[in-house]
Amino acid sequence: MTMPYYASPEQLMRDRSEYARKGISRGRSVAVLTYADGVLFIAENPSSTLHKVGELYDRIGFAAVGRYSEFESLRVAGVRLADVRGYSYNRRDVTGRVIANAYAQTLGEIFTQQTKPFEVELCVAEVGDRPETDQLYRLTFDGSIVDEPDFVVMGGQAETVTGHLREHFHAALGLSDALEVGVRALSAVSPVTAGATDGGPTRLTGAQLEVAVLDRRRPKRAFRRITGSALRTLLGDDPTPDATADAPPTSAHAPSAPEPGTPAGLGDPANPDNAGGPTTTED
């Protein structure tokens, strides 16, 4: 006959926390910073297709560290929640808080009820009309939710990166300055720069980074990835400057469409919805 064994709830929770923390700390870090025109996501991620940063809705973005399969399924769930809500109510009724709450509840439930907790840490960021209304929610594996000002750092050596950012971060930095501050902070802990004292690289390059912004100036869908030459220029890696780096919003990235069924004449006739593109004529 097998002996029933007993573990106290404290012990169980402690073990699970330790397990999740260990899993997360193996990964590379992600920093989410507010800047003058919105929110900037910087992830150390050598893969250009397995993203750690993604779009949830018009003004809401997502960043995660930890086990890819777990946070990817959470990202998809967030996109679905946002789209179902926006479809059955209105696009304006989708807020970061709603999505962050759903994440918190799901993570909390998994943490307490399943043997293996999710080894993830998430950030849900929402960009508002003004810098004061930007929101950053940090969600941990046990379902805790924290509303953070200025910036959120997650992953491997988050404390070191946070310390670095506390020193150099200011509110309302420009995009390239904010990127510079963030990349420096991430580089400080990255294994890539481990050999810096022996003449190795001292800073992460564009190829090792995944960068995206939620730009409040963009109409409708604020999320935009910064890749390739635009990223190299912003980082100052590129000898030939490229003017597209900090260009104002263009229609090259999918904007969302106006609500069909809106009676004509209720909108602003001087500014018809042009699906994010430039208006063709000035009248």
């Binding site: 939710i145 469409a257 004529t281």
Partner: protein, 285 residues
């Protein structure tokens, strides 16, 4: 502000299943009542009780494709709306115009827009233009029962093909029938009650490789000709300043042309036709 929540109302299980990237398919498991195709089909014809949208025209031009629609919706012999909009951007590189039962059509467009955006967010890629056209066909197919009771929805779909091979025209037009049949059109297409007259007009005015402004004129003129002969199609209305809605899709994306631009084109057409008519009367006198 820290709050630890271990509630029971997080994501329902369906949300966390990694089943696919289609919003419609997801809704069919998570919230089937939100889908237009799942409702009971009316048992008797109700076509005259619901507003119907009418004529939509699309043409290709040198840089892409243009789509325009008149502003009238009819309900039997009544005009139910003078300012309805029947052309919408489906995503940044495609547009959709609708003819048929307006309520169902607008719901379908809304679902279709979310479908494309949802795919794009989940996959991180934009769907191919042929994929988009095919998704739309599947939605129309689901509406066949209602279509037989007078609630048909017939869209016209056009887009800029980002994957077009060099040397081929990037602007492409797809038309549909009530059964969901999907046909790629060459050059120009029209749907709705005035489509016969609009196509006849385009047959004379449209040529391959027109510049954007001339192609815009062919659209406005085709809608004018349709309104001339079809009671369910509205012409330009200078009294209320209502003009056709025209979208242009090119390499830069989908853009709605301003009312001022369309008004200028419509006014030119009206002036030229009035002038031609006056000359005819003078000759007869």
């Amino acid at each position: 502000m820290i709050e630890s929540s271990a509630g029971r109302s997080g994501f329902p299980p369906a949300y966390l299943d990694r089943v696919g990237s289609s919003f419609t398919e997801f809704l069919s498991t998570a919230a089937p009542d939100l889908l237009p195709g799942r409702r009971p089909v009316p048992t008797m014809p109700v076509g005259d009780l619901a507003p119907h949208g009418t004529t939509i025209v699309a043409v290709t031009y040198s840089g892409g494709v243009l789509m325009g629609g008149d502003r009238r919706a009819t309900m039997g012999n009544l005009i139910s709306s003078r300012d309805i909009e029947k052309v919408y951007p489906a995503d940044s590189y495609s547009v959709i115009g609708i003819a048929g039962a307006a309520g169902i059509a607008i719901e379908m467009v809304k679902l279709y827009q979310v479908e494309l955006e949802h795919y794009e967010k989940i996959e991180g890629l934009t769907m191919s233009l042929d994929g988009k056209a095919n998704r739309l066909a599947q939605m129309i197919r689901g509406n066949l029962g209602a279509a037989l009771q007078g609630l048909a929805v017939v869209p016209l779909f056009a887009g800029f093909d980002l994957d077009a091979a060099a040397g081929t025209a990037p602007g492409r037009i797809f038309s549909y029938d009530v059964t969901g049949g999907n046909y790629e059109e060459r050059g120009y297409a029209a749907v709705g009650s005035g489509s016969l007259f609009a196509k006849n007009s385009l047959k004379k005015t449209w040529r391959s490789g027109l510049p954007a402004d001339t192609a815009t004129r062919t659209i406005v003129e085709a809608l004018y000709d349709a309104a001339d002969d079809d009671s369910a199609t509205g012409g330009p209305d200078p009294v209320r300043r209502l003009y056709p809605i025209v979208y242009r899709v090119d390499a830069e994306g989908a853009v709605r042309l301003t009312d001022a631009e369309i008004a200028a084109v419509a006014d030119t057409i009206v002036t030229e036709r009035a002038e031609a008519d006056r000359r005819n009367v003078d000759r007869e006198a």
